[in-house]
């Protein structure tokens, strides 16, 4: 359906091993960055490794386009004995998304670090960033339940400390990071417990293998517990309402690079894993999984979409507003998945993509100007639109996408979500989306009014245009949001095949 022929420029040997190089690239890059002599080298390594990963992601997508599913047995041991990557369209899509965002974040990091982090720490910072990237890419590629846990932790451990580095600007980053660590670890441990029960019930760790063996014992209590713990664990990692308490401060006080990267990728990878288990390991049609979709996932998604939007409306600090809206948007995605029809899941996945693009852009724009004026509240940002037109124009575009205005990607995904809900006769979901769109209109309206139609308080610090190193990735993100707003065939194609992969994968 989507043609990646151009990628076959890559040597066949590389394409054959792309699935694992996709992870190994950033991983080795991290080591190199840690060894880098100075900040500049570290940055170049980071960019190079990210670009390499993105290239590999494209190769993998090309392979998936050719074969449907790419299996890669690591160590030459076929599963269930060995660990194997299993990459279908969904994994390929997530890989593309994460690595694409990573490249832009890496480009952005050059400037952001200089402004926010002490020089001698840049090497390690880039290392941490690349480790997180490798971990997330591993999570979306692996076909082994326990291996997924390991990569979740690879992605997390470093980022806890990276969030804490925000303390150089605001000490509130420290409690935020600590809380993030506690919650993240509890989530991961719950996930392990769940996997343990699945292992006890099936004797294997390979997801596909688990799925085949679950068919016979879907009503066992052990499986039920495994399901519950995996869902709660991943819910914590995905900031699924009401398990999102750790997110707002973590995003609000972390260094802007981390806010950009995490908001666009981390929760998304957790959502991916959740969907992977819900739809391909467990049988969504069967008993408790179905009940969960209808009576837990959908209501929670709805509550998140409403409540967290409200919190955003009444929040004075700009970055916290964005963080709350992130939780609300996760609610949209979960609503889409909960519809469990092809249309619904595809819409959910599309919205996932759209949200990554817009949130990355929003945090990047704020970082770009806030670096200079240590602004947090709306009042601090008043009039930034006049002082930094280019930066804030990109912000406005991304914000429009967040509101779901026509000619932006966010509008089309919202369109598809409502359409899917209507086709599934779930009018209440339409009502929820409408209501929370209204709230989004209000809080985004507050932002834009402050940025563009208010004058800064006399004597207040004035924003200045962000440097080119920020504007380039920023405008790429904004541009993509508009491009997909006019022609979303690429993301829709990916999302459709991703949803098909979820629905079609069960034995």
């Amino acid at each position: 359906m989507i043609s990646f022929e151009t990628l076959y420029a890559a040597p066949l040997e590389l394409i054959k091993h792309a699935p694992v190089l996709l992870v190994a690239g950033p991983l080795m890059g991290a080591c190199a960055a840690a060894l880098a002599p100075n900040s500049r080298w570290a940055w170049m390594i980071s960019v190079a490794a990210s670009i390499f990963a993105a290239w590999m992601a494209l190769c993998v997508a090309g392979e998936v386009a050719r074969k449907g599913v790419v299996d890669y047995a690591i160590g030459g041991f076929a599963p269930p004995l060995g660990i194997a990557f299993r990459i279908d369209w969904l994994s390929a899509m997530m890989g593309l998304l994460i690595s694409f965002i990573s490249v832009l974040a890496a480009l952005y990091s050059g400037h952001a670090l200089r402004a926010e982090v002490r020089e001698e720490k840049h090497g390690l910072f880039q290392a941490g960033f690349l480790l997180c990237q490798a971990g997330l890419l591993g999570v979306v590629s692996t076909g082994d339940a326990f291996n997924a846990f390991v990569f979740l932790e690879v992605a997390s451990i470093g980022t806890y400390a990276l969030v804490a580095l925000g303390a150089d600007r605001d000490r509130r980053a420290l409690p935020a990071a600590f809380n993030y660590l506690i919650m993240g670890t509890i989530g991961a441990t719950f996930f392990v417990i769940g996997v343990g029960f699945l292992y006890a019930a099936t004797g294997t760790l390979n997801m596909a293998d688990i799925a085949t063996r679950l068919v016979t014992l879907s009503d066992s209590r052990a499986v039920l517990a495994g399901f519950a713990f995996i869902v709660v664990g991943l819910g914590l990692k995905a900031a699924m309402f009401p398990l999102h308490g750790w997110l707002p401060n973590a995003y609000a006080y972390a260094p802007s690079l981390i806010a950009v990267f995490l908001s666009a990728t981390a929760t998304k990878a957790a959502i991916y894993l959740l969907a992977r288990f819900l739809f391909t390991v467990f049988d969504p049609g069967s008993g408790f999984a179905h009940l969960f979709l209808v009576w837990v996932l959908a209501p929670l998604g709805a509550i998140a979409a409403i409540v967290c939007s409200l919190q955003a409306v009444f929040e004075p600090e700009l970055r916290r507003m964005l963080a709350f809206s992130s939780v609300a948007q996760v609610g949209y995605i979960l609503l889409g998945l909960s519809i469990a029809s092809l249309g619904g899941m595809s819409a959910g996945l599309m919205h996932l993509t759209a949200h990554s693009l817009m949130k990355a852009a929003l945090f990047m724009a704020l970082g770009g100007v806030a670096i200079l004026l240590r602004a947090r509240t709306l009042a601090d940002f008043a009039g930034a639109g006049r002082d930094a037109p280019w930066t804030m124009a990109a912000f406005a575009i991304a914000a429009a996408s967040l509101m779901g205005l026509p000619l932006t990607f966010g509008f089309l995904t919202k369109f598809r979500l409502i359409e899917a809900a209507l086709s599934a006769n779930q009018i209440w979901i339409v009502a929820v989306i409408a209501a929370s769109s209204l709230l989004a209109l209000i809080y985004v309206g507050r932002m834009l009014e402050a940025l563009f139609f208010r004058t800064p308080a006399p004597g207040a610090a004035r924003a200045a245009e962000a440097p080119l190193g920020v504007l380039v990735p920023l405008w790429i993100l904004a541009g993509v949001s508009v491009w997909f707003g006019v022609d979303a065939s690429l993301p829709e194609g990916l999302a459709n095949s991703g949803a098909l992969a979820l629905l079609g994968a069960r034995p």
């Binding site: 091993h17 840690a34 160590g75 660990i83 390690l124 932790e153 451990i157 804490a164």
Partner: protein
């Protein structure tokens, strides 16, 4: 069920007794408000669970739990509470209700599910009958390692272990980012002054003797890994302990001149590089990632003398042998270096250090 009963007499009694001890310890930790007590009890908890693990036929895990729980964790925890209030604030009963409810509810679900599991020790349970059993059958044939745990760890699930090593490295990066590289360490940080009188000759001599022995033991554990319990991780921790001991006795500054923080960080990174590099080498030689079977090209394989590992008759898996050897080496590097880095971080930040700056 007679098998279970006879088993009950012997092991189950010990097993349950140990578990009971653990429960008591956990309760004690929950009760106490003295942080020091909590930490020490935590160490004891690890030791007891290590013993329990031995009873459960998991010597490798027991070994690790011992060195980590009773060793590293305790050291780090102690480093963290130096000069803070030793008492935790009293938490009112009201504050305990919600957590209690959460714990009880979760526990209830777990028990409810656990009672559905096959009975304890059942050899035919899915867990024990499927993949686990297969490993027992094929591991030594595939890898030539007697210790199936090592075989699975380093070979079948070598990718997990790469991830594990990466996690350690990430932790090192994290701590170094948060606490710096010990550059704020004092000539003889209060940390040691607490542990020893400053010029305790006996101790210095003892240390001078002890440190090489510890290091030697570390290397024994390292290379003995594929025959008995042990491996890169345990060895790495022990090696790090040697360095830490040196610091405790001779002072952080001296140790830092011997083992530079930058050097430690570099070695940590190199360890992961070595591990993943092996994987890439396997690719270059036409195999899959970490496919030790292709670690060597055929011509190199041919040049390896058959008697290299003694026992000339045995059919050899050079690839697997050396693959496991190298990656365990990588683990050793990363773990040891990271542990040292972490220690530097905490010791360097220890208020004793600051006071002297």
């Amino acid at each position: 069920m007679s098998g279970a009963i006879s088993f009950l007499d012997a092991n189950l009694a010990i097993d349950l007794a140990l578990l009971a001890m653990l429960v008591v310890l956990a309760a004690a930790i929950a009760m106490t408000r003295k942080l020091l007590a909590a930490i020490l009890l935590m160490g004891v908890y690890s030791l007891v669970s290590a013993v329990w693990l031995v009873v459960m036929d998991a010597p490798d895990v027991a070994f690790t739990e011992a060195v980590v729980g009773a060793g590293v964790s305790t050291i780090v925890l102690l480093g963290a509470i130096l000069l803070t209030r030793a008492e935790a604030e009293k938490t009112g009963w009201g504050r305990l209700i919600a957590p209690a409810l959460i714990a009880v509810a979760t526990g209830a679900l777990l028990v409810y599910a656990a009672l559905d599991l096959p009975s304890f020790g059942d050899p035919t349970s899915p867990a024990n009958a499927y993949v686990g059993r297969t490993y027992l059958e094929v591991a030594s044939r595939d890898t030539g390692a007697a210790n199936v745990v090592t075989a699975v760890l380093a070979s079948y699930r070598g990718f997990d272990t790469l991830g594990e090593t990466t996690v350690i490295f990430a932790a090192g990066v994290g701590v170094a980012l948060a606490l710096g590289f010990g550059e704020r360490a004092a000539p003889a940080s209060r940390l040691m002054a607490g542990a020893t009188g400053d010029h305790n000759v006996v101790l210095r001599v003892a240390a001078k003797l002890l440190i090489p022995i510890i290091a030697l033991f570390a290397f024994y554990v390292q290379f003995h890994g594929d025959l008995g319990p042990g491996g890169g991780f345990q060895a790495g921790v022990i090696l790090a302990v040697a360095v830490i001991l040196h610091a405790l006795v001779f002072g952080l500054r001296e140790t830092m001149t011997a083992v530079k923080p930058s050097f430690a960080r570099g070695v940590a990174a190199l360890g992961v590089l070595l591990y993943s590099g092996i994987g890439v080498v396997c690719i270059v030689n036409g195999g899959g990632f970490l496919d030790y079977g292709h670690l060597f090209t055929a011509e190199i394989e041919a040049q390896i003398p058959p008697g290299l590992l003694g026992d000339p008759g045995a059919t050899h898996h050079w690839g697997q042998h050396f693959g496991i050897f190298f990656i365990e080496l990588g683990v050793l590097f990363t773990v040891a270096a990271t542990m040292v880095t972490i220690f530097y971080g905490f010791a360097g930040r220890s208020p004793g250090g600051e006071a002297k700056l």
